[in-house]
Point group: C4
Chain length 306, copies 4
Amino acid sequence: MWRQTVDPGLGEKYNSRTKRLINKDGTFNIVKRGSEPRLYDAYQYLSNVSVGKLLLIILSFYLLINVMFALLYVGCGVENLHGVDPNLPPFLNAFFFSVQTFTTVGYGVLSPHGMAVNLIVTLESLLGWVGFAIITGLVYGRFAKPNVRILYSNHALITPTTEGKILQFRLANKRNNMLMELEAKVILMVQDVNYVRHYYNLKLEQSSKHFFPLNWTIVHHIDKDSPLHGLTPKQLEKQRAEVLVLIKGYDDAFGHHIHSRFSYLYDEILWNVRFKKPYDADDTGEIIFNLLQLHETEPVEGELPV
Amino acid sequence: MWRQTVDPGLGEKYNSRTKRLINKDGTFNIVKRGSEPRLYDAYQYLSNVSVGKLLLIILSFYLLINVMFALLYVGCGVENLHGVDPNLPPFLNAFFFSVQTFTTVGYGVLSPHGMAVNLIVTLESLLGWVGFAIITGLVYGRFAKPNVRILYSNHALITPTTEGKILQFRLANKRNNMLMELEAKVILMVQDVNYVRHYYNLKLEQSSKHFFPLNWTIVHHIDKDSPLHGLTPKQLEKQRAEVLVLIKGYDDAFGHHIHSRFSYLYDEILWNVRFKKPYDADDTGEIIFNLLQLHETEPVEGELPV
Amino acid sequence: MWRQTVDPGLGEKYNSRTKRLINKDGTFNIVKRGSEPRLYDAYQYLSNVSVGKLLLIILSFYLLINVMFALLYVGCGVENLHGVDPNLPPFLNAFFFSVQTFTTVGYGVLSPHGMAVNLIVTLESLLGWVGFAIITGLVYGRFAKPNVRILYSNHALITPTTEGKILQFRLANKRNNMLMELEAKVILMVQDVNYVRHYYNLKLEQSSKHFFPLNWTIVHHIDKDSPLHGLTPKQLEKQRAEVLVLIKGYDDAFGHHIHSRFSYLYDEILWNVRFKKPYDADDTGEIIFNLLQLHETEPVEGELPV
Amino acid sequence: MWRQTVDPGLGEKYNSRTKRLINKDGTFNIVKRGSEPRLYDAYQYLSNVSVGKLLLIILSFYLLINVMFALLYVGCGVENLHGVDPNLPPFLNAFFFSVQTFTTVGYGVLSPHGMAVNLIVTLESLLGWVGFAIITGLVYGRFAKPNVRILYSNHALITPTTEGKILQFRLANKRNNMLMELEAKVILMVQDVNYVRHYYNLKLEQSSKHFFPLNWTIVHHIDKDSPLHGLTPKQLEKQRAEVLVLIKGYDDAFGHHIHSRFSYLYDEILWNVRFKKPYDADDTGEIIFNLLQLHETEPVEGELPV
């Protein structure tokens, strides 16, 4: 008895098996052709790379620009630079002069002479100016955008309880910022023998949470209305079942809504295990929550949890 | 049988035929008189022009300011600049000095002398400072604001199906950013013989979509409750019918809501054709979505699609 | 028959007549004592003053800081500056040196000598650095925040129509940016003989508008359920009636919600007049909307508008 | 008769008494282990410290970087710097040269000589550039994020009224910015003898407020449906009762939603007192609101307030 089919916008009819829908980093596993390559995409790329990589890219651009201008100055004739160091090759003199111009340090020991070099200087110092503005925008942009890191348990569990089987997984905020008003949506995707994808909403025990300082365990009861009812691990594999997880929340510090996506493929679902509690109060009444214990499970034998 | 008239705020009574309501770039075809010209509008203009144009504008301002200050320095007497190059005309010496001051390079080979020139320098270096701040704000502002590019199919189609005629068009995200929680509203506008405009909501098969990595085909069934029911291409032309499309969504990367507008005039509606599917899985199970195929249609003959 | 009393949070019991609730600029007419003066308020002030005033403030700070540092350099002894101009007084030499340091122009003709001056230079160039960052933040902040200018008609009108009396006023966007999804709330406030304020929601013919490229006329029907029913201009004056207008919308370009407040005091309500239409199509079918005609009214005599 | 249990996401089963849930600054009293230390957290820290502390941190970094580069220049041999002051030790010469390079003042009296020093200069001036961008981002970031300071009355009161007992407390905006559309949620938390926490929603007389220029008194009627019904101060202490307050609103100037949290522990609840009114109109009809009177209470004796 399957219910609540939905169309989340991920396509239905395909001519073959497809790979997992949502990658582990939350992106969709879809290759888009014909999209416009744009400055904007470069900006988005730069505001997402690691800090080390960003610094490397900035350094590379900086060196590249200075090498280019150094070549221009050499092309004009180094004799048009005053104060060159005769012990250094012309290119290096021109390079250091370019650095002093681009960064607007301008010691003046090396200085431009004549019209051509002065015109290039006019351009390069403007470029340094604009380049600086770009770096500033980039640095700030990295921090200003919502930046959410949600840690999901490595596995989703199918756990027997006194009230029947449940599908559960849990999540926590990796960061120390305050996330609020969380909402969860969980969708089961299966592919039938004709490679047609079917999507089903899974009903949750609790689909929203006001605060998120601890972990949140999301629970779906596999009752007779559940699309998972009666399915075996084998059948999930055959249908290439994927549990899509969509989390929405609010970042209190930045005033932005945040979204996070995750998925569990059929082989990332463990059967007959349950989670251990990752937090408790210590002797002084202080509550300690250990993120590293988020993934810890234990087998369910004999007695069932209440 | 016409239903669901709405007043979207675009005026109803006019004394003559009017041009299309929504331009191809999503702006309204209305000329506003008496609005205040303001710095803020300049900012909006500058944060929307193409990058090339923006750089040209910056360069022009830069040259203009330096020419102005060069004239001031020449006015004060170039003898008040130390280190002038006798092989260059006074104006050029003053211009290069201005550049070195405005950008704060300040080599010092050219340097101010006496009170008047020093006061101008005091002003110009402050101006460089403030100008820089403005450029930085502008550059960052270009990236910080929502930036949505939605590609709409060139034509809306009226397609016969086994369940009756449908009006359909489709759209996709031109960019690689993640748009979510899309909502669509489609309004039919017709003008009667007295030039009075009438607006009707068109009921959609699906008016929202959770994700948007592929295309979204928006479908209106032309059943007997539809304001389009029984109309011919001729009648649409006579009433100067225009289909207004309003899309709302959420840009995940920037935490902003985004809006997009589009419209199909009566002569942009094709009859008896259908869309080709623009995406499918390749041999490896990878899903390939080709934006360039968004506009592709094929005639509907004999057999109808299921 | 008075209905729908509300408590908008503006206080109810007072011991005397009070001034108008909402000022013409949308602020509340309430003096708050004991609030913390903070940097943040300075920031808000600076991001709201006119551009001319802002530039003046920046210039003043710039001069002030340089005068202060000039005095420090003079205090250290101008003999510790190399390259001073003997024709200028020591203070001016120090001032120009300070300018060249603060703005990081640093020609080098004037240069620091000895420990004390060099330490001050170390501080001043850092200060220039930080000051620059503050100006940049301020300039960008001015543009990044929602910036709404809504023009309200100078008067609210009470107009007789074939369907009874209506209270109406209208508004338009002064700017050229795109405002969307507008919502209006109109509250009538009257003070009784004990100076107690009463608030009533006024029911609107249309309380929301999808687009806002033209004017929006907000209409309240004074039927028998209206708190205005049967009231005369005299009675409105005696109760010091004030019509509070709250507008909410969405700025498409910046992705921000915007709010605007306005109010009409009893003596800003005109009786038995109606508005003239401020827009129409010209010969070419172009729609012309003239903001300056927003306030124009005409008397209603004999025949009533349909 | 206890009703409306909720799960706000703060944990239920603990093995001992726990400390207060919400600290006086609105943070949760939970220690998180295993979260990733990240640059982002540093940014959040820096955008929350006091201005004085921020300036001190900037100054420290500035001095540290210049000391490091000074040591590098000394390491290369101070003879590679031209224009050193023989009266100052080599390190100080190198330090002042570093300052002039990092801030891009570059007087040129001190200037680099030879390859090694020039390469370090190339790096340091880039670093100054990037450092500046970071400071600018930080300064702007401090102002751009929502910044709410809500003043809560020091105590919650349980006040007898003619309609029975009420629990009340009040709040006001410490700042002069405009907060709108406030919503309140109040939750009672008690711990039973097994240290299990129970959460109950408290029904409010008015749970939202359109404007917030004055104080807002939040009132819960302790009727027979209230979880507080019949409880004595002793019992509240025994259950370690905590009243959790969650405020949500909208900052009009910045277009951001804001949140605020507060709590009253059992010993911060006063019995049989009421609040004094903190605002009134003066002789001229001007409304004066005094924040400092927000905490003022008076005992309720004999006669009850109407």
